[in-house]
């Protein structure tokens, strides 16, 4: 790695740290947007004696000046301490940790689906442009992008779950195979919109590349069409595809709230909804921070990996 390249990476990482700091500040100060005293906000809906309120004030340091409070909170977050959950009488970290595997499985399977099906259908759509299949892909993309996960959930549960009985319609399942069986429909429901977006980007990026002269040159040198598509068209279309996938991360994580709720699964997403419902603000804050941080980190990674996908940006200093 050249010094210039190293410097570019360092700058990008510093940028990420600053962005994370800014978002953490936004999330923290959101508590102060709520009307009234923060302490009474945190116990909203529950009866609290003046002593309890005083205890909360002390615990959260509401008596301290704002920057000090932010610093304490940030220090805790950096050490994995997100505060305590009122609902579960546990630390927020513990609550999140127990829910994380289910959500990771859901997101993992969905990512796989989105990548394989989204890119696959996009390739077909580009190569079969102007044919019946090509038009079908276009229609699929148009409709798919407008099918929210809660609509997909209803249809999937109704048809594949209730009518045909192929898949369970509720819960997380136990054991590896049962969990996988349980996650199939939620993962499809979560993927539909994003698959459509990835398909669309793949298709248009492939079409852009197919028109390039280097494709014709490769064909003129006797490389089989299939090889040219793989090594030159798809390879070159990877840039836009990876970029879009990075941008989809946050939307996908938020949509787990919908899917997990619809399928009665226990995970981070359903926890978010439950915490909002039950006014468990510390948990809400932690999840919001996690989702935003995941987005920032993933997109920084995409930025860092991008020069490997398109060496031309390396010349431009690694920054896009």
């Amino acid at each position: 790695m050249t010094p210039g390249r190293l410097w570019a990476v360092a700058r990008r990482l510093l940028g990420m740290a600053l962005t994370l700091l800014a978002t953490s500040f936004l999330v923290f100060s959101s508590l102060y947007l709520a009307p009234g005293d923060p302490a009474s906000f945190l116990v909203r809906g529950r009866s609290a004696s003046p002593q309890e309120l005083a205890a909360i004030r002390h615990q959260y340091g509401f008596d301290d000046p704002f920057p000090v409070r932010y610093w304490h909170w940030l220090d805790g977050v950096l050490h994995g301490d997100f505060g305590r959950s009122y609902l579960f009488h546990q630390s927020v970290g513990e609550v999140l940790w127990s829910r994380l595997p289910a959500t990771l499985l859901l997101v993992g399977v969905s990512t796989l689906l989105i990548a394989v099906v989204g890119i696959g259908v996009g390739i077909v759509g580009a190569l079969r442009r102007g044919t019946r299949t090509g038009s079908a892909v276009l229609l699929l993309v148009t409709v798919g992008a407008a099918v929210p996960s809660f609509v997909a959930a209803i249809v999937l549960r109704s048809v594949l779950g209730v009518r045909l009985g192929w898949f369970p319609t509720i819960g997380n399942g136990t054991g590896v195979l049962d969990r996988l069986h349980h996650v199939v429909l939620p993962a499809i429901a979560l993927s539909v919109t994003f698959m459509a977006l990835v398909t669309r980007v793949t298709r248009s990026a492939m079409l852009d590349e197919l028109r390039r002269e280097h494709v014709e040159v490769a064909l003129s040198r006797g490389l089989p069409r299939r090889t040219v598509i793989r090594r030159h068209v798809l390879r070159n279309a990877l840039g836009p595809i990876v970029t879009v996938c990075g941008l989809l991360v946050s939307g996908m994580l938020v949509s787990t709230a919908i899917v997990e709720t619809a399928f009665g699964m226990s995970g981070i997403g359903s926890l978010l909804v439950q915490s909002v419902d039950e006014l468990d603000f510390q948990v809400v804050q932690a999840i919001v921070l996690l989702v935003v941080a995941a987005f920032v980190v993933v997109n920084t990674l995409v930025d860092l990996v991008y020069p490997l996908i398109d060496p031309r940006v390396r010349a431009a200093g690694g920054a896009r």
Binding site: L31, F41, A146, R157, S158, I170, G251, V276
Partner: protein
Amino acid sequence: MSAWTTRLRRLGGGPLVRMSTVVLALFVLVSVLAPWLAPQDPTFGELGDSFAGIGAGHWLGTDGGGHDTFSALIEGTRTSLVGPLAVVLASTVTGVAVGLFTAWRGGWVDTVVGRVLDILFAFPALLLAILAVALFGKGLGAPVLAMAVAYMPYTARLVRSLTAQEKVRPYIAAYQVQGHSEVFVALRRLLPNITPTVLAQSTVNFGYALLDLAALSFLGLGVQPPTPDWGAMINQGQAAVLQGQPMSAIVPAVAVVLVVVAFNVVGEHLGDRLAGRES
């Protein structure tokens, strides 16, 4: 009738674009006329009537509580129109203001605002809306405001790049040489030229805002029953899905998809036409 078809034809585009335009026109019309169109009071249900099939009494059947699905669908158009409309109006106005100002100014203002917009991009609209509900309570008001903030960067970024492109065109310099004030040139001469593209983007945003607000109501965090709303209807109909009675959830679900498809198709068609592309 023929005047309408010629007008539709003039819009260009294939049958999909024309159908979508009709769907949008119907959507707006129905939401305006909803109280006169709904055959029954959607908040009134008779348990004896629960899960009634499609028939003369209930065009699209009833839900578990015996509420008329068709009437709820009609009345539900109102929140489905008003919510996203508020989001799009607010985000477009602020986005245009921010984008126009920063790109026109350029320099450090542009850089700083650009960074702030980048940070806002990390907050998806639905997440901000959920956070707003956590802070201000359930309903439509706070989430709409939060989503306006979340959608603003998209418009701002678009306007920023359009303005930057347009600013260097000769006609802008010509107006300035003629002694027109910067504000006049920016608002009265440059803005009209980029407005169509911004409107195309806003049309697409409308569809997505509708999805996000419906999702919020589906989660039970947005519009609260008995106010008729598509997302809330789907939420209430889900339990019945497991009982093999999916109609009361599927009807509003289809409505959501149809309207969002229509917004996307029309928005993209407008965008393509402005960019001189064939869709």
